[in-house]
């Protein structure tokens, strides 16, 4: 049986959802035999393969111009998109900056007197979007996995269902935020 091609990405989040994925511990060893892990923060592969992947798990909200570009690429290149965790599902903590003006925020964090030289990061680095968005505000999403982070067991359940070509069924406490 051909291995299922999986990519993972993160945007504005804390890496906790990726950590929770690793928290499946030794199940990772069995999973490694069944999936072809492509572009991911955990591998050295940086781009989607030409012919795309089966499943992309995305952690984090869309907060800057790079994320916006990438989330659209992810949609184009993936059969199934999973919003992994509350930041991707609702915006969660990163979206708490909505309502603050991003230029004023940069001035407050980097300008004098917060730093001794007051240089403002506006070169090279990607520009912040005025508003942080959950994935579904930007692209169609196939599955939503709740939690901050979703427990490892829930992530394993979703991945194993997708590997078997089934629709993951999330009920009861699977649907809990936080």
């Amino acid at each position: 049986m051909a291995k299922v091609r999986v990519a993972t990405m993160w945007f504005s989040g804390c890496a906790g959802c990726h950590m929770s994925l690793l928290d499946i511990d030794e199940t990772l060893i069995d999973l490694a035999a069944r999936i072809d892990l492509r572009n991911s923060p955990l591998t050295d592969l940086k781009a989607f393969p030409e012919d795309g992947v089966d499943v992309t798990l995305i952690e984090g909200a869309v907060a800057n111009e790079e994320h916006l570009h990438l989330v659209r690429t992810a949609r184009e290149k993936s059969k199934i998109i999973v919003a992994l965790g509350d930041c991707a599902v609702t915006g969660n903590v990163p979206a708490l900056r909505n309502g603050f003006d991003s230029n004023q925020m940069i001035q407050a964090i980097y300008g004098s007197p917060a730093t001794s030289n007051g240089a403002l990061p506006f070169d090279v680095v990607p520009r912040l979007l005025g508003r942080v968005s959950p994935l579904a505000e930007v692209i169609p999403v196939d599955f939503f996995v709740h939690g901050c982070p979703p427990p490892a067991g829930l992530i394993a359940k979703v991945i194993l269902a997708l590997l078997d070509g089934e629709t993951p069924e999330l009920v009861g406490s699977d649907l809990k935020f936080g």
């Binding site: 804390c14 906790g16 511990d25 030794e26 940086k46 903590v93 407050a108 964090i109």
Partner: protein, 472 residues
């Protein structure tokens, strides 16, 4: 003709971090910059919230070391309550901090970095990752996974959740340790100790030759970390000590007064600020924190196995080491120290006492919490109104302290591998390895766990791309 080389670790459009190398007209390296490309703005949106939610909220700065933020935040709040937390709460917080040190260091070593030097710097990038390590060295990979799992499971048993446990609170912790969970940790400790001892032996047999450890550069700097009053290695409290490249004490300072010795600068090309040792100015006041910073700053370990390793390390290095690669070595020694101290804490009957929280209101308008996170000294500083509403906050995260040093590392490595405009293929993974050795928790400062795919662009003075090296 001057040229720039762009290295985009997470690619141009995918990056939370990228690198530019500047060449002079002779084609030699003039400078290098590590750009951190993500910003979330905690220092802004926490203003106006209550101090009681700060541990839970700031935990979301980082899912790799949430415990660090929970503890630094709770400590800052303890100072605002102006209470001394119960002895048992103190012991339990230490225990959780050590469990986190084990899991986070194990993640850095086994999942992120070991594939480079155990599978080979130049092996196929498609398999040079944890999945490749599982295939090539299943026994070792399983042991590494179980070591991290031990740390995570201990956090879960203490705080009810592996990631973002709502456990440390202003005044102490909110759940005592049960005898059952104490027994579970005690039983699992020997396996963890055996794993780390075997890994240290393996590491030393492969890299005992200090020449091999020069691969990521070697340069002097100041080192900073908390130490006990008597100079021993410490992770939860104590004095903030700065030593020079030879290990001579430059300064010992009250951590609550960090602002007297540490200032921050900013640059237009990165979202990560640059803390520096204020008396030496910017950027000369570069210092390093984290595993190597701590073991260079302390006089000794208080536990016998870690102390024996430290003596061997120092004998081999001729005193303090400035090698970037030695961060990995130091990380393994610290896992051993953490396991030894966990055993001591678990053997102490006070650990299961139910007296775990001091209740109080707002008794001070300002509080500083400082402790050692896996990646180095972490500082939370809050100012509140009389109701405990946050008016202002300052966070100096561990990875930030190393910002100047990481920029120096990539410059050194670029100098080793780029001569007269000739860029060798080897530069890709070495530069990446140089950053990775610091285990930058860019989630803390911003983002990005570990492995950073590279793309190198050589751009001439007209801005045209002359050549591209990449590895996708």
């Amino acid at each position: 003709m001057e040229r720039q080389i762009h290295i985009e670790p997470v690619t141009r459009i995918e990056g939370h971090g990228k690198i530019t190398v500047f060449l002079d007209s002779a084609g030699d390296v003039r400078d290098a910059q590590f750009h951190v490309t993500e910003l979330r703005g905690f220092e802004q949106f926490c203003v106006g919230r209550t101090m009681w939610e700060m541990p839970g909220l700031t935990a979301r700065i980082c899912g790799i070391c949430p415990v660090s933020h929970i503890l630094a935040s709770a400590k800052a709040c303890d100072a605002i309550l102006a209470v001394r937390i119960p002895e048992t709460a103190q012991l339990l917080r230490r225990l959780m901090n050590l469990a986190q040190l084990v899991q986070s260091h194990a993640l850095s070593f086994f999942y992120l970095s070991a594939p480079d030097f155990l599978l080979g710097w130049d092996c196929d990038p498609a398999t040079r990752n944890v999945v490749g390590l599982i295939a090539a060295r299943p026994d070792l990979a399983r042991k590494g996974i179980r070591l991290r799992a031990f740390g995570q499971e201990a956090i879960d048993r203490l705080g009810g959740k592996r990631i973002h446990p709502a456990w440390a609170v202003p005044g102490g912790v909110n759940q005592a340790l049960s005898q059952e969970d104490r027994a579970w940790m005690t039983e699992r400790l020997p396996e963890a100790r055996t794993t780390i001892q075997e890994t240290l032996a393996l590491f030393k047999s492969a890299f005992g030759d200090t020449k091999e450890r020069d691969v990521l550069g070697d340069y002097p700097s100041l080192y900073m970390g908390l130490v006990r009053q008597d100079g021993a290695w410490e992770h939860y409290e104590g004095v903030l000590r700065i030593v020079d490249a030879k290990g001579r004490v430059v300064r010992e300072h009250n951590p609550a007064q960090y602002a007297e010795i540490i200032q921050e600068a900013s640059e237009p090309w990165t979202y990560l600020k640059f803390p520096y040792y204020q008396p030496m100015g910017y950027p000369e006041g570069m210092y390093r924190v984290g595993p190597l910073g701590r073991i260079n700053a302390c006089d000794r370990f208080d536990t016998p196995l870690a102390q024996a390793e430290l003596e061997e390390f120092r004998a081999q290095s001729g005193g303090r080491s400035g090698r970037v690669f030695d961060y990995h070595y130091a990380r393994l020694i610290e896992i051993l120290a953490a396991i030894e101290e966990m055993a001591e804490l678990l053997a102490d009957d006070r650990i299961t006492s139910p007296a775990i929280r001091a209740e109080a209101g707002v008794n001070a308008r300002e509080g500083v919490g400082v402790h050692e996170a896996p990646r180095g000294t972490l500082i939370h500083h809050y100012w509140v109104d009389q109701n405990g509403i946050i008016e202002k906050l300052n966070l100096i995260v561990s990875t930030g302290h190393n910002n100047l040093a990481m920029n120096r590392a990539i410059r050194e490595i670029a100098k080793i591998y780029i001569k007269k405009g000739k860029v060798s293929e080897g530069i890709l993974n070495r530069i990446e390895g140089g950053i990775r050795a610091y285990d930058p928790c860019l989630s803390c400062s911003v983002h990005a766990v570990g492995r950073m795919p590279l793309r190198v662009e050589i751009v001439n003075a007209q801005g045209e791309v002359e050549a591209t090296l990449s590895r996708d």
